[in-house]
């Protein structure tokens, strides 16, 4: 092109200014895709732990996901291995398995069998024990545990208390 350098420069400068505007509007577009404030504020669920019965799986809902709550029997508590104990949530002397009820393989919801005290995922045959540990592949790890905070005899899901932080730091959950 026979552009003199000055003319070429102004064209490029204008292009740069226009690009800044385009990036600015991309920022607004990105923000418009964010979860809405009402979605974020609905991200906390309080569970009243007094209502659960031993060895009966109850599925709660938190952030649209199923949450497994299993109150352990005395036998279960007594038989727990070290790795099972690491996942145990103790509130007011009772022991619970509380976890996101999605198979860590591809996200199906496993079913609980109260007689053999284990979970089976129908999609690809993954198995978990009553503490949420994986016992048969393909799932790569035990159930994920949601952020929780113990408040008296209730549990607030979505808030990270010290017990949860400990689990997270020790790698019990992702």
């Amino acid at each position: 092109m026979e552009n003199n350098s000055r003319r070429g420069f102004m064209g490029k400068a204008f292009g740069a200014v226009a690009a800044v505007g385009a990036i600015g509007s991309l920022f607004a577009m990105k923000k418009s895709w964010d979860p809405l404030p009402s979605v974020r504020s609905a991200g906390f669920t309080t569970l009243d732990l007094s209502v659960y019965k031993e060895n009966e799986l109850i599925t709660e809902k938190w952030r649209g996901k199923p949450i497994f709550v299993l109150k352990k029997t005395a036998d279960m508590v007594a038989s727990q291995t070290e790795s099972q104990k690491a996942r145990d949530i103790e509130v007011n002397g009772s022991h619970y398995m509380i976890a996101i009820g999605l198979c860590t393989h591809l996200g199906c919801i496993p079913a609980y069998n109260a007689s053999n005290k284990g979970f089976l995922c129908a999609c690809h045959g993954g198995q978990f024990d009553f503490a949420g540990d994986v016992t048969k592949v393909p799932p790569p790890r035990g159930f994920d545990i949601p952020p929780f905070k113990i408040e008296g005899n209730t549990l607030v899901l979505g808030e990270a208390g010290p017990e949860y932080t400990k689990m997270k730091e020790s790698g019990v959950t992702l």
């Binding site: 102004m10 400068a13 800044v20």
Partner: protein, 315 residues
């Protein structure tokens, strides 16, 4: 070659502006009555006759004035005797709690309201002799002494128990001045109070039924259900809302809406609350607007410089 562009631009701008003027400011001027604000002076009401004595006022409010027969005063430890929907079934609208009326409403208005409710509220057209209807609040006929002194005492008492003006949030102002007739769903407000979040659907429906019962009574009392005010700041504009609160009859003759009687300061808070519901992004709009304008001006300057460079060779 003479440059005609300034002339052409002038023609385009002038015709556009004339059109704008005719369809916007001028047409609205013709279509809508213009009401000037009286700055909430309530000049039609007499000034308070005497210096009130809050102690005597308390006796009157609790005793001979018979206020507490219908009104609760939470601040004085007197909770409401009835649920709002039951109170509305009896009176048409839930009689307000008197804890903070002394700070929200103008003293002239309060004094006149005690003596002659329909007059202070400017709803005498609804309660004429022919209609046979009586305003649900009975007028205070005096407790045997100088009635103006007694009223002044009562107003003094109401002022003494109210919270300070600076502690009145826009929300409190709205709830006291408007909230018993007007819902504001975007702020979860119903005429019987803020709608809590219920875990159980049954509880939520039970609450809704109470609201509907209340609204039925209100509808019978007012002629129609007073509108939800969530978006009123945008559908009516600040000036209309302000002058309408000050004197509904001036904007809309014959309306069932009573004069609210708030002080100028409280009217501003009510409007602020309406903005918090219907125009929440006003501050963001302002600041982002400034940034966008600065950017666009830079954009235009660079476009102009580019054009000048490119066109240098063309002439």
């Amino acid at each position: 070659m003479k440059n005609k562009e300034p002339l052409i631009l002038a023609v385009v701008v002038i015709f556009s502006l004339i059109t704008y003027y005719l369809v916007e400011p001028y047409a609205h001027h013709v279509m809508h009555k213009h009401v000037e604000s009286e700055h909430f002076a309530y000049a039609d009401l007499p000034a308070l006759a005497a210096n009130g004595d809050a102690t005597r006022g308390q006796d009157l409010v609790m005793g001979a004035g018979a206020c507490t027969g219908c009104h609760s005063i939470e601040a004085a430890g007197m909770p409401a005797a009835m649920e709002p929907q039951d109170a509305a079934a009896s009176y048409g609208v839930n009689p307000p709690d008197l804890s903070n009326v002394g700070v929200i409403f103008d003293e002239r208005f309060l004094a006149d309201l005690i003596k002659n409710p329909a007059h202070a509220l400017k709803v005498e057209h609804k309660f004429t002799a022919e209609s046979g209807k009586m305003h649900p609040m009975s007028a205070f006929a005096g407790a045997g002494g100088d009635i103006d002194q007694e009223v002044a005492d009562m107003v003094a008492y109401l002022k003494s128990i109210a919270i300070k003006a600076e502690d009145v949030t826009p929300k409190i102002a709205y709830e006291n001045a408007c909230g018993r007739c007007h819902a504001m769903s975007y702020e979860k407000w119903t005429q019987i109070g803020e709608k809590p979040s219920f875990k159980d659907k049954k509880d939520a429906l039970a609450f809704d039924i109470k609201v509907l019962q209340y609204e039925d009574s209100l509808k019978a009392y007012m002629g129609k259900l007073p509108p939800d005010l969530s978006m009123y700041i945008r559908s009516r504009g600040e000036h209309f809302v302000s002058t309408f609160i000050e004197n509904p009859q001036a904007q809309l003759e014959g309306t069932a809406m009573p004069r609210v009687g708030v002080t100028a300061e409280m009217a501003e808070k009510v409007i602020e609350h309406m903005q918090d519901s219907g125009d929440t992004k006003r501050a963001e709009r302002e600041s982002i607007g400034m940034n966008v304008m600065i950017y666009i001006i830079i954009f235009a300057i660079f476009a102009l410089l580019w054009k000048k460079q490119v066109w240098r060779d063309l002439h």
